[in-house]
Subunit: 346 residues, 4 copies
């Protein structure tokens, strides 16, 4: 089958991946599931992987097929799979988990002690077929469009997971800030709006992103580059600040801004990454402020997100590309030229 | 009355405060309480205040009497005070709260919208008498020794508050790390031990502090300056890392170490301060790791800590000094020469 | 001033209360607030009080003015009140709290150790003026209609409190059941709908109540008297049952039905009362099922409900009556003939 | 192999089970594990099953081997089992779970949609060999005594699970009540004591049970049949009542007593069963009181309990019997004549 493979780390996106012919995976173990990929979202993390940014955090062996945001049709199942059948449309939770380690038993799928992460540590979905397992797939309602739904497998669940953590600490009358209204942020904004009757402030330096935010339920869409941005947020919140901040950007600028616009005991959830946190410990103490990292989400949360999608509460904008166009997508994303989420259709 | 006052910010601890004669406070409002101070703990924060480190975070007008860790005897009460009587021994929660703002109604005393913080924003307890209110005082059992109990008013409650936040996420079989076994840390260690049947690792660069930790319930007392400290913690935890980290130090070295010895979804609670956090956002994302600031504690938590003290579960080591010796204490603390917690006895 | 007073417990609603002339209350203590009552909701609990049903639970001395659901205008304030001014419109949380006992410090207003409950244990709001305190009143936005907003002071907050407890355990994809769409239930339904993207089943034996439920966001409005009601709920929930049940009725029939339509680990929140629970302990064990009582709500929750009202998320239907009509209202409610919530306008 | 089988429901314990020869189970599926049973605890629930009390709650087909509290040695594993090896000593979580349904993904093992419950719905451990799966077994440290540890598999985990739920709502200074210091209660008491620095009141009508309670950490061991038992509890708690009640008995008398000795917002956890709850809904409302059923516990909680056992924090008293003595054990338990937990050693 054809697959888009990373052979070498590079900062040159135009020649990042190579389309190669490799063996189709098969369901060798009793719980394996092979999916014919119909949609595989391209994620900012793919660019980060290509640049080698994950080598300090996980073990990677090149060459490797990228693509961790997958949906498609089941074409083969292991001998004891009972939750899906051949022919069924599914969305794939991004990781394969053992189901027996303690994090798995606690429902913490992302922290499985025996994790495989297709597209990050093993072969992913920028290919005709993907090997996954019955603990990763969620059946979709008949007629579901796997191509447009694919980005929920990572962008969606990641945004939902962060919003759910924030939701636990939000009450009516509170204010939540969404930093960055791009691929993840525009989903997070919708989740936040449907799960919380709170005041929502969206921050994005791009005017069109702020317009999008307006249409998706933000009560205020502001430019974080404005000189008086701190004062603007304080004015909206009667001087109190925001109770929860969800940072889909993760740059030095956003982690610098967070504590300045936060109410006491606020959390700043780090979803996006690339930049740093530089803060005096005293700043966290004084406001009882927290920087809390967030990593993808639980399988059960992908089920919950699918319920929201089913209700029509969350929609996402996608643009579609063929497998051969992956490097063009990588380059465009690098320059912020992708409209909505790019989905590869192998 | 006599009071130890800060007239000017300085880094010269030997002449930090001046002993001056000022008016005794009186119970002008219906809920005021005047306490004759019998013990007033000296805190690392006092040194930070003297250096001007808090001017960016709160409003201060000099001159000001320092001292925010107070206990003593009630000598005057406002017209509607019903919870304490003249002659009663009390420990004072460090802040005076309005009782009507939203944070107060949620029990979040430290985030009261109309907060007075004696010793930080108004006159404190390095004086013969202290003005506070019925919402700050907790009656002590008859015969209680206010001098030795005073440090619980800030060091104790702060340590307890951090431990309580960690406790919510600890289960039997987990590991907790205490960074720094000094004034706060040695209380935190005892709270941790009595509230959680978990494995406890104490880290301190001083051998005598590690010995103290051994005696107070730590299962492992390690030197964080050891080259293989990360490996030591991983070995103890079967490669998993610690589920919760409580950092009573708050220096660059401790915030650097935290993520390296943390299990997935761990929190690193920042209690001590003085240093910075410098971390890639990706580090927080990859381990779903959180840096969470913690600020003193709730009034209800000081009640809970008093219950622990009453049970004999938490003891603290103090050394006592006269009001005229405050600058000597300040200097000694600066050089790490104070044994246990220093208490001023005005 | 004129007041509707209970002189003797009775089951004869037509002569339940007497309109009498009594002294106007004054703000004798520093935190007292006197409110000119503009709206005082009549509650099923008023009927229960008249029947003597609360004598086993609280201390009551007759005669007593009833009325615990009050809003109006501040006409006098104690010497240290700083949160409201004379002339301001306010809604009154139903209880007066001391602000210093442990439950108060935890935000558990209803469990204050020194509680006064106007209309239940002291004189209430079916009178021209009501004595309350600055810890009970919430200022309303200019132009607020105190008459129609009054029922939120008890019916609203009680419904909101129960829904908030259920909300903590609901996730997208789950199902919640509302039992009873009357005075409290129709508010609870709206709170549930705005706070939770879940499937909502409303149960009411009255067709018009089911119609109301349809219009307020219920996805299914069913007759609990239907023979196959259990099967209907199981069909809607794919055989799983409801994750949370909020019982605004509290009769033998509703507490009997709950466990039969519940998913594993479900809660059945008891809000309404009058009937009993009769269940084998084994039923609770087998489904890990809980019956959880719920009593009014916190002051902070009334603030949150006011935020929802302000957003337009919760509306309530009221009908207005003069003080002299209280017994007619009592009788009508007894026979289920009140449309929406009855509000007395003294 | 030999097995003790229930052929017919009966109230005659002396002839409850028959020792029969049946086929040894084999590891037919990839995740199956066959354990040679070395200890199988006899539980009050076994008596209840024999009497047919569970037929309304689960599907049972007779004949069936009872025994749901098992430990022993692994003798055969399925083709994909990686967590245990042949020859390893294990304790068995009481249920076999699918690992893919939503409750499994949330860690709620007892609510698995595809549950098998050996000893309740399929063949259990009063036999030479038991069929279970890799999701049920927990490896024991070398040298562990499976016979004495077996009762933790159900009695232990059930007690721990209930205590853990109570722990979430207990703070230092609070009071917890343990009702019944028998097979489960004496474990629950130890868990409570090691996990919570609170005041513990143990209630048991038997003097020797109260003596046992004294030795296991109860601060007060009282006779619930005493006429002034309510007053005794109120005296101990300064009139406030207990914040959490754990009922290991579950009779009419205990569910009647609970609300009378409870503080506001207390929970009464129903662990034991056999009796009923009969209470006015108003009683739950007035005290915001909850009856909360509790069913066995999570796999992750059995891991946690094993950590406590490993620390020496929880010990249990057992007496051992041969397989042929099962009916004698059943009869003795019926008459309260078993010392500690009876363990069958097939």
């Amino acid at each position: 089958m054809q697959a888009a493979r990373l052979n070498e780390y590079t900062h040159e996106m135009s020649e990042a991946l190579d389309i190669e012919e490799i063996d189709r995976p098969t369901a060798e173990r009793s719980h394996h599931v092979v999916v014919e990929v119909e949609g595989a979202g391209w994620c900012q993390t793919d660019n980060h992987i290509i640049e080698g940014m994950w080598t300090d955090y996980v073990e990677q062996t090149l060459p490797m097929t990228l693509g961790h945001e997958n949906a498609g049709e089941v074409v083969e199942i292991g001998s004891e799979v009972e939750t899906v059948e051949v022919g069924q449309k599914v969305i794939c939770h991004p990781v394969m988990t053992c189901g027996t380690c303690r994090p798995c038993r606690l429902g913490e799928d992302m922290h499985c002690a025996n994790l495989s992460f297709p597209g990050l540590t093993t072969n992913g979905g920028f290919a005709e077929y993907l090997l996954t397992s019955d603990r990763a797939v969620i059946p979709l309602p008949e007629g579901a469009d796997t191509t447009t739904i694919a980005p929920h497998a990572d962008a969606g669940i990641t945004a939902y997971h962060a919003v759910k953590k924030a939701t636990k600490k939000l009450n009516p009358g509170d204010t939540a800030v969404v930093m960055g209204v791009g691929g993840l942020g525009h989903i997070g904004l919708q989740c936040l709006e449907t799960m919380n009757p709170v005041e929502i402030i969206a921050l994005d330096i791009k005017a069109e992103a702020r317009e999008l935010a307006d249409g998706l339920g933000a009560h205020h869409a502001l430019d974080p580059a404005a000189e008086d941005i701190v004062q603007q947020v304080l004015d909206i919140t009667d001087g109190v600040g925001a109770q929860q901040i969800i940072d889909f950007v993760g740059r030095d600028e956003t982690t610098e801004l967070g504590p300045q616009i936060a109410a006491g005991t606020a959390d700043h959830h780090i979803v996006g990454y690339g930049g740093h946190i530089h803060q005096p410990a005293q700043t966290l103490v004084s406001g009882e402020f927290g920087f809390r990292g967030t990593l993808v989400g639980k399988y059960a949360e992908l089920q919950e997100l699918m319920a929201l999608v089913d209700r029509g509460d969350v929609e996402l904008h996608t643009s579609q590309y063929e497998l051969g166009e992956v490097n063009m997508v990588a380059e465009k994303l690098e320059h912020g030229e992708i409209e909505g989420r790019a989905v590869i259709t192998p």
